[in-house]
């Protein structure tokens, strides 16, 4: 008797294993997607056009100075407090007549904003302001709007705005009309009006 053959390995299922691995990696790999805070810059104004006049009480002024300090409505404030202050301002709903806000939960202080759709958050910065501070403030302002939208959606539709948004992403196209309507409504009730004034030069 000479050498004996080793039994051949059955490779028939190799392809299956390969596909299994392929599918596993396909599912688990997340391709890195950039994300960030989206903003729409104001268009250049034709020189002959008068800028729209906004009532002082509808403007929420946030100034970040050169040493990254925050001045909110003429009050020095920390980064952690700005969200609450912004929410209070937007949701105030102090308007009467056609400016009245039926869904606002705020204090209805007549000296603060009339209506979320009228309330403007004006963010001013200095040339020396650091970018990270600026982004942090922007983030807090957006967070204030998101929380208000969440609260409104919770009251009206029984789930938060963010839940509606994630659900909207999951549902097939064509079946999401209702969700779309809800999102539109929430966005209309609390429109994000953040004005980034041009940088102060002095």
């Amino acid at each position: 008797m000479a050498k004996r053959d080793a039994p051949e390995v059955n490779a028939g299922s190799m392809a299956d294993i390969a596909f299994l691995l392929l599918i596993f990696f396909l599912v688990t790999t997340t391709i890195e997607v950039d994300s960030g805070i989206s903003r729409l810059l104001p268009p250049m104004q034709p020189p002959e056009e008068e800028p729209e006049i906004i009532k002082q009480k509808n403007i929420f002024q946030v100034i970040v100075n050169r040493t990254d300090q925050l001045l909110v409505e003429d009050q020095l404030m920390g980064l952690s407090d700005i969200k609450e202050a912004t929410k209070k301002f937007i949701d105030n709903g102090g308007g009467v007549g056609e400016d009245a806000c039926s869904y606002c939960q705020g204090m209805r202080d007549p000296s603060s904003s009339d209506n979320p759709s009228k309330a403007v958050v004006s963010l001013q910065n200095d040339r020396e302001t650091s970018y990270k501070m600026y982004i942090s403030v922007q983030n807090e302002l957006v967070a204030a709007y998101t929380e208000l939208r969440n609260e409104y959606a919770e009251r009206t539709y029984g789930k938060s705005y963010e839940e509606i948004l994630t659900e909207f992403d999951k549902v097939y196209l064509g079946k999401n009309d209702k969700l779309k309507e809800q999102i539109e409504d929430i966005k209309k009730k609390y429109p994000q009006i953040i004005s980034e004034a041009t940088t102060k030069n002095n």
């Binding site: 008797m1 000479a2 050498k3 004996r4 053959d5 080793a6 051949e8 390995v9 490779a11 190799m14 392809a15 390969a18 596909f19 691995l21 392929l22 990696f25 396909l26 790999t29 391709i31 890195e32 997607v33 950039d34 994300s35 960030g36 805070i37 989206s38 903003r39 729409l40 810059l41 104001p42 268009p43 250049m44 970040v64 980064l79 910065n125 200095d126 040339r127 020396e128 302001t129 650091s130 970018y131 990270k132 501070m133 600026y134 982004i135 942090s136 922007q138 983030n139 807090e140 957006v142 967070a143 998101t146 980034e196 041009t198 940088t199």
Partner: protein, 161 residues
């Protein structure tokens, strides 16, 4: 009778390589899917600030990138340590931004132009003066949709270092 035993005892048979193509294809597909082509080599420090109220920026073909930050260590001697703008693969001035946007816009298909977004990838240690200048330039060429690209995280993380 001995005829049936003839085939045996002829050394080890080779392992079947029939599935090798499968494995290779699998790897190929995997890398095809997972690879993100880096368009630009960064010549600046680019530590993005953190934020948690972010929106995703998919549709990579609709995004124009503008980088800004301090030149990284190997370029410090040539370009100084003042924050600069980087467009494509070279340093640029504020005045170059307009031409860059127009050139990028011209290279895209016409129906996509209204949806173009400018992603500002700015280092967190940059002053707002530079960012403000870029924004002003963008307004002048009517590229109004911008996105401050950030990392995901709590804003407090921006200040602990």
């Amino acid at each position: 009778m001995s005829r049936f035993k003839k085939g045996k005892g002829k050394g080890t048979p080779g392992i079947s390589t029939a599935s090798l193509p499968d494995i290779v294809f699998m790897l190929l597909f995997f890398f095809m899917v997972a690879t993100v082509m880096r368009q630009n080599t960064l010549m600046i420090e680019n530590k993005l600030p953190m934020a948690n109220q972010v929106e995703k920026l998919d549709k990579k073909d609709l995004i124009i990138y503008i980088y800004a930050g301090k030149p990284s260590s190997q370029y410090k001697s040539t370009y100084g340590s003042e924050a600069r703008i980087q467009l494509n693969d070279k340093f640029a001035d504020v005045s170059d931004v307009k031409a860059f946007i127009l050139a990028e816009r011209a290279s895209k298909r016409e129906e996509l132009i209204p949806f173009l977004t400018t992603a500002l990838k700015v280092d967190s240690e940059t002053n707002m003066g530079l960012v403000g200048d870029i924004k002003q330039q963008l307004r002048e060429v009517d590229a109004l949709k911008i996105n401050y690209t950030t990392r995901k995280g709590d804003v407090q993380g921006n200040f602990n270092n």
